[in-house]
Symmetry: C3
Subunit: 265 residues, 3 copies
C-alpha cells in the first residue's frame, strides 16, 4: 500500500493535473501554493459565465464553502452540476457544517450532486450526516475522528462519496473499506487552511488516480507526512506553514515510506 | 500592570475565544493565523443569512473596512447591530479612513452602533474624528500618534469606545486613562496587515478580559513585543511575517516582561 | 543600462509611489507585500463608489483579471477609464487570457482604454493578440517567450502599450525596441502569484520613472534578480516566497549589477 501511495504522489508530480477551486478567501493563496508544491496546477475562478468552460478545461473540481455568499453558492452549484455532466471528479469541503442553517442548506443542495469525495473534520462530518442522512445521533462539537465513523458511513451509503474524516487520525471510508492514517502534528491546527489544503490535494489525486480510495489516502498521507516532517524544522506555526510547502515539493520516497503510518480494516 | 497583561495573554491561550471577523481580502490569511498563533479561534464569514448565527456563536466581532463593497458594508452593519443586541464586544478597524467619502460614510454608519474598541493609525483616527465628532482641526496625513490624541479623546467621549492609536508608540485612550506602549519595529510597516492583525488580536482579548483598557493594552503589547523579538531574527519583511507568527505562539512570560515598554498617565 | 535600472529601483524606494490594485483574491497578500518590500505603498480597493477617488490619490493602477466577476470587471473598467482622464499610467495583467470567452471579452473591453503596460506569459500574450489584433496564428499553450514576440508587437502597434512577455527570458517590447532579461529561477513557477507580483512592481516603477521601457525593465529585473538570489537560500517554494520578499527589500546595488543578465535589440 505504501508503495502504491508513493506512486500516486509521483503521478501527480509527473502529470501536473489542472485543479479548479471554488474556495474561501482565507486560504486561496495557501491552497494554490500547496497544489503547486505537490506538482499540480491550480485554477481559481468563480465567475458564473466561465464556470462551464473551466469545468471543461480542468481535471477535478474542489468546492469549499468557507466565506460563502449567494454568488459563490451559485458558482459551486453550477460547477458541480457541470462536473457531473462531464464526468469530472469533485471534492466537497464542508467548512463549518452545522455552524449556521445557511451552511447546512448550501451543503444539502451540493450533496444532491453526489460529490466524488467529502473531506471534513469529525464535527463537520457529524453535522453533515445529521442534517442529510437518516442517521440521527447526538453531536459532540469536540468529536474525534472515530466517533464520526458511523456518520461517514451514512454519507457514503447515501451519496456514494468516499468520505474522509480528518483529525489526529484520518479515516478514509468507502463501502466496507476503511483506511487509517496517523501522521501530522498538533501544531498544524495552529495554521489556518490545513484542512482546505488537504481537500485541494485530494482534488489533484482524484484527477489522475483511478482508485478513489487510494487517491484520497495518498493525498492525506502526503499532507500528513509532509506536515509531520515540516514540524520538526519549525519554531512555531509561521515556520510550519513555510516548511510544509517546501516539504510537499521535496519529499522523497525514502522519507515518505519511513514516516507513513497507515493501516486498513 | 506587566504581570496583569501577561495573565491576559495566558487567558486567551487557555480559553481559545471564538472571534468572528468581517475583514478585508488582503489580510484574511494573516489575521486568521495571528489569531490561531495567539491561541484564539477565528471565524471568517460575511454572508448576510448567517451573520446573526455567527454573532450568537462567537465571543467578539472584528470589523475591518479594507476592500469593502456594498455587500460587505451590509454584512458589517448587520453584525454590529446584532452584537449590540447580544452584548458581544466589537472592534472597528477604520482602514483608510479619510481616503474616500465612501469609507467616511460607511464609518459614520458603523460608529452609530458604538463599537467597544476602535483601533487605527494616527491619520485614520484623525480622519474619523474630523468626520464624526465636534472636533475640527487640521489633519496632517503624516500625523504621529500623540497628534491624534485629542481626536481619540473626542471619539471616546462621543461613542464610548476605547480608542487605540497605533504607531511607533501605541496609545490606548479611555476617559481619563492613557496607556502608552512603545514596542514593535519599523520593519513591521513593510508587512501588510500588521494593523489588521492587531485589531483581530484585540477582538480575542476583549472576548475574555473584563477590563477593556487592559484587554486592548494586552493585545497591543503582545503584537509589539512579538514583532520586536521576531525582527531580531529576520532578514527582511518576508521572514518577519513568519517569525512574528512563531513568536505570537511561543512567547514566554520572561521574554514578555523583559521586553515590554509601557507607561500610564 | 544596468546603472539606470538600479537608479529606478532606488527611486521607487525613495519616493514610495502609491499603487492602486484591482487584483485577484489569490495573490492580494503577496502582491501588497511585494510592493511594500520594494518600497512602494499598495492600495487595494474595488468598491465602485470609491474607484474615482482612489484613481485620483494613487500614482499608478494595476488591473489583474484573475478571480474576476461582474462587480470587479466594472471596477476595472471604471478605474482604467478614470486613469485615462487623469493621465495616470496603468498595467494590465491578462491572467488566464484565452481560457474562457468571459476573460477574452473582459480583456477586449479593457484594451480599448489602451493600458500603458501589458504583462503576461507567452500563452496569455498570444491569446490576447489572437483575439484582439489582426495577427492570427496558431497558439501553442506551451509557448515560449520568443514565440509570442510577434503577438506582443501586434498588441504594441494596436494599443500603444509597452508589452512584457515574462518567462525564462522576459522580453519588453515597444516599437523597435526589445529588451531581454534572463534572471529568475524555475522554482518561481511553483509559487503562486509571481507574475502578479511582477505586474504590481511594474505599477510602482511606471508611477515614478519617465521612460516606460526602462520602468518595465527595472521592475522585471528587480523581480528576476531578487528571485534568483532568493532561490539560492531556499529549500523549496515556501521558503522561496519568504526569501524573495526579504530580497526585494534588502537587494544592494552590487548584488543587482553582478547578477543582472540583460541585452537589447
Amino acid at each position: 500500500m505504501q508503495k502504491k501511495l508513493w506512486q500516486h504522489i509521483e503521478k501527480v508530480r509527473q502529470t501536473s493535473p489542472l485543479v479548479q477551486n471554488i474556495t474561501n478567501y482565507v486560504v486561496m493563496n495557501n491552497t494554490a501554493n500547496a497544489l503547486l508544491a505537490a506538482g499540480a496546477l491550480p485554477i481559481m475562478a468563480h465567475a458564473h459565465p466561465e464556470i462551464d468552460e473551466m469545468a471543461t478545461i480542468c481535471q477535478a473540481i474542489v468546492l469549499n464553502i468557507g466565506t460563502l455568499d449567494k454568488y459563490k453558492v451559485k458558482s459551486m452549484l453550477l460547477a458541480i452540476k457541470k462536473a457531473g455532466e462531464l464526468g469530472k471528479p469533485t471534492v466537497l469541503d464542508p467548512v463549518g457544517a452545522g455552524a449556521t442553517s445557511y451552511r447546512n442548506e448550501t451543503l444539502s443542495q451540493l450533496l444532491e450532486y453526489r460529490p466524488t469525495v467529502i473531506r471534513g473534520n469529525a464535527s463537520e462530518i457529524l453535522a453533515l450526516a445529521k442534517q442529510n442522512t437518516e442517521t440521527t445521533k447526538g453531536v459532540d462539537s469536540t468529536a474525534q475522528s472515530n466517533e464520526a465513523l458511523s456518520a461517514a458511513k451514512s454519507l457514503n451509503r447515501e451519496y456514494g462519496s468516499v468520505v474522509c474524516i480528518s483529525g489526529e487520525t484520518d479515516i478514509v471510508v468507502n463501502g466496507e473499506r476503511e483506511i487509517y492514517l496517523s501522521n501530522g502534528h498538533a501544531l498544524m491546527a495552529k495554521v489556518t487552511g490545513m484542512g482546505c489544503s488537504a481537500s485541494a490535494l485530494i482534488g489533484a489525486f482524484i484527477a489522475v488516480v483511478e482508485d478513489k480510495n487510494e487517491a484520497v489516502a495518498a493525498a492525506m498521507a502526503l499532507m500528513g507526512v509532509a506536515g509531520e516532517l515540516a514540524e520538526k524544522q519549525s519554531d512555531g506555526p509561521g515556520s510550519l506553514q513555510m516548511h510544509l510547502l517546501d516539504k510537499l515539493h521535496t519529499l522523497t520516497e525514502a522519507e515518505f515510506i519511513s514516516t507513513l503510518k497507515i493501516s486498513e480494516k
